[in-house]
Symmetry: C2
Subunit: 547 residues, 2 copies
């Protein structure tokens, strides 16, 4: 690939060799940390814990067992697990056998889990006993010979164990490994497979490689102030983008993973106090849960707790409330296709002098690229020309670089479409501000077109969030004979705000927005959400159509 001919003095005799060129792989993080910090805790979980030495030994046993059981390089090993030690260990043991880890969202329905197992051709499935019904439902529709072998994990903090045959703990906890770790021969080899939860159609299998996982893990440290030895609480499901690659980041730093089966406000605060948690990640719904629980606290947090959030732009009001409680928020943006976060709302020192509300507004923008995301542009998808940095012109978020997926598994058409023009098309619409920070305005498909004018549903939602009675909101398009579409707002009110009316909210919006942007309809009630706290807009669109 080098443009210098092989006889050039800077090429000749200076080729890659094992002494100076090794595949980049997160497996190396564990090998190093087990060597350097053997007695530190790699994870804690209820009353159990594992030092780095023990963690490596457990992963080695599982990797060896996988090879012993016939798993070959390039085979798929699936995991249907909450944020338990078994799930964390899969992030090392499966690649250490040369296999590809396919973590599956535990909140999916049986038909979707079945589709994923069949499409990914999983040879083996690690599953938590809590999800027995889901697994059996998924397996029910698969011919007996095609079903992956299931290894149950009866987690110490989960439901009481049943008779389940070989248990995960039998494999991880006992024996001397018979096989060596298999290191990747090429850093481009697949390390994991993550199905995107599309709102329509079949999910697509996003393939990650060792190089991208390694670089994202290092970038997480570079952009976030993780320091040495973070104590990281697992509030973000590891089945989302491999927990944004944090199973690899935390181990690289000699940190401690605090496992957690369920995201509950009191459990999070307990972990902050009892475990010394310094960092956690989560969607805005996690932030809301924590804020709610923290509102009952009479004492300040024992230390600043750093929170990384993504999945939806956090309302400035939420950021401000969290910071007042002693949490420090870092806002990131990314997609399954970019290994999770690839854009960060990087803090600028001169913002320190601004009012908290203004700081929160700046932070609620998605921001700038991770160092290993070589390029980020807001472009007109037709002309592929960048939009001006005017904070107003909408374009599509396009990225390229070393933390973009290999592509979609068994789906060349979708891969080529997503990579058209050698840019990854995110499908998200944003503006570029004069300072280069990007701000998401909408998913392409969430744009509301009313009377020929584009309306950003997020802009309307942000307006409604400013109303003191509003707890949560989602705005979608409602078909309209006259205007084509009109904005329809679904609103959850705060407990103490029953008196708020549709007319009041519409008037409130009209006082802040161009009048055509105000909702024409307001529906009160609980919002349907996915497991990450994303509002299920497709469900709301159906409801809006039926109104």
């Amino acid at each position: 690939m080098s443009p210098l001919p092989p006889e050039h003095p800077f090429s000749e005799g200076l080729q890659r060799r094992p002494v100076n060129h090794q595949p980049l792989t997160p497996i190396r993080f564990l090998l190093r940390s087990a060597d350097v910090f053997p007695h530190r805790h790699a994870w804690v979980h209820g009353r159990r814990s594992a030092t780095y030495e023990e963690f490596l030994a457990r992963c080695r046993r599982v990797a060896s067992w996988l090879q012993e059981s016939g798993i070959r390089p390039g085979d798929t090993v699936a995991a249907l697990l909450p944020n338990t030690p078994a799930m964390l260990e899969c992030h090392y043991s499966v690649p250490m056998a040369g296999a590809v880890l396919n973590t599956i969202n535990t909140r999916l329905d049986a038909a979707t889990v079945r589709y994923i197992l069949q499409h990914g051709k999983a040879q083996l499935l690690f599953a938590d006993t809590e999800h027995r019904g889901l697994v059996e439902g998924a397996m029910g529709g698969i011919a007996t010979n095609d079903r992956p072998r299931v290894i149950w994990a009866a987690d110490s903090e989960g439901p009481a164990p049943e008779a389940i045959g070989t248990d995960y703990e039998d494999i991880a906890g006992k024996g001397t490994p018979a096989h060596e770790i298999r290191m990747p021969e090429d850093e481009w080899e697949a390390i994991s497979l993550n199905y995107t939860s599309g709102t329509t159609g079949h999910p697509k299998g996003v393939v990650y490689h060792h190089r991208g996982a390694y670089l994202t893990a290092m970038n997480n440290q570079l952009v976030w102030d993780l320091g040495h030895y973070p104590v990281y609480l697992w509030t973000l499901p590891m089945f989302h983008c491999n927990g944004w690659c944090f199973p690899w980041t935390i181990i690289a730093l000699g940190g401690t993973n605090v496992c957690l089966r369920r995201v509950e406000g009191d459990a999070i605060l307990d972990a902050i106090h009892a475990r010394g948690v310094t960092h956690f990640c989560g969607a805005p719904i996690v932030l809301a849960t924590v804020t709610e629980a923290a509102s009952k606290l009479t004492e300040p947090l024992p230390r600043t707790v750093r929170v990384m959030t993504a999945a939806a732009p956090p309302p400035a009001t939420v950021i401000e409330a969290m910071q007042a409680k002693g949490f420090h928020i870092t806002h990131v943006y990314g997609l399954t296709e970019s290994y999770g976060p690839a854009v960060v709302s990087a803090w600028q020192e001169e913002w320190a002098d601004l009012a908290p509300a203004e700081q929160a507004r700046l932070k609620s923008r998605q921001g700038v690229r991770y160092p290993s995301l070589e390029e980020l542009r807001i472009m007109n998808p037709e002309s592929m020309e960048p939009v001006p940095r005017d904070g107003a012109t909408l374009g599509e978020v396009m990225i390229r670089g070393n933390i973009v997926m290999k592509g979609y598994l068994r789906n060349k058409e979708a891969t080529d479409a997503a990579f058209a023009g050698d840019w990854f098309h995110t499908g998200d619409l944003a503006v570029a501000h004069p300072d280069g920070y990007i701000e998401l305005k909408d998913r392409s498909k969430d744009i509301i077109i009313s009377g020929g004018e584009n309306i950003s549903s997020i802009e309307v939602e942000n307006a409604l969030y400013r109303h003191p009675g509003v707890a949560a909101v989602a705005v979608v398009a409602r078909p309209d004979a006259k205007w084509g579409e009109t904005p329809c707002a679904f609103v959850e009110l705060r407990d103490d705000a029953d008196a708020v009316t549709e007319a009041e909210l519409i008037a409130f919006c009209r006082s802040q927005l161009a009048h055509f942007k105000a909702p024409k309809t307001v529906v009160f009630g609980a919002l349907p959400k996915t497991s990450t706290g994303k509002v299920q807009k497709f469900a709301l669109r159906e409801r809006a159509r039926a109104l």
Copy 2:
């Protein structure tokens, strides 16, 4: 390279493309930081400064001018510069033209500079006007047609400018670039060339590649607590291992480079107070200079200042004294062949409870590998078997991984010898402690063999450093008819310690060491040092032979 066949589902249609695979290169750090932090200071120097936006513009102009001047990809561009903005900018502008940066030690003699310019086939030389005599001396021995073109840099903080034709500032400060930045087509392309200052024979040209420079720069941040926006003082010459890759690390972090022509104690303290310096690097001689200057301070430092040190194991007493003044020491080890630091004496939290002297002793060990140094072993160079982790058995330090050089330029024989058995042979002797930390005992050639017993010169030096009258010491072998060799100590005394005698120091050593290890001869006087503060033992060995 992948062992999966191209038709495997995790390979097919999932090949590398520009959208998901870009060469790793530190050039990207500057492009990102200029975009994200355009108004932060990239460097300050006397009354001058450059924002990131200006810094990128200056580097672009120089890169464009180089291409305009006929510099082609793979050509060598040399620099004979102190730690000025011009030197920092060369670390970007030269690679941005596709050329290879060869920084040359400004304290070398003219004959060695001539050898380097000729061996590296430099097409062009950027030189500070202070070094006019050295450049002219070097050029004198080169045929007119073979001389590289010289561009003088008349630094604002240097000697008064003379008539010098095109000045560096004419290129960097003016004009619109006519050429685009040339990004590497392959991360294995050479980025720089660093000649090792061997004690005998011709220096060897160590070739760095973009991938290794990128990874070392990221590793510096990973192992050192640099945080965001460090203010970094240039006490370490950038002509050593490209300043341990810190010109790339600091720019990646949006930090500020505080340039410095001369390493003087008062100037360092001034920079800490006036510039807000948070970090600097240097050999132990720099630490000694700072400790000396700091001893006059009546007020504490305005903040903890973090210092990274290498080149020779810092005596525990120096570490302890520095820490008492408010400096925080991180000890690293590496070689030119490993991009500078590749091993770090990583801090373990449980050491916090130990006495300061014990902490300093632990820190004075070289430590554990950088994350991107995939393997570090102390091996018997004959059998290539690792030595036991017993803190006693000597072996040679061997490394391999992504931060090992491409090899030596135009020297296949030396490259192959250094890489024998697919390990880089450092030539340094060390032990491995039970906790895995390595501790250097000697350069292979510095071992003293007396009466068939091996004596580590460092062990004897450490003993002498404990004497209150000793300021600096070096121990070498002196030929001896009876014992083969005996240890001979060269000692610099503190100003207030004139009364110390040879007999007293020998007795002092015998009270601490096995008697055969005590020096048989002590010579008082100033030690000859290289520009990095390494004692020139080869000169002392000659003196010892002549005694």
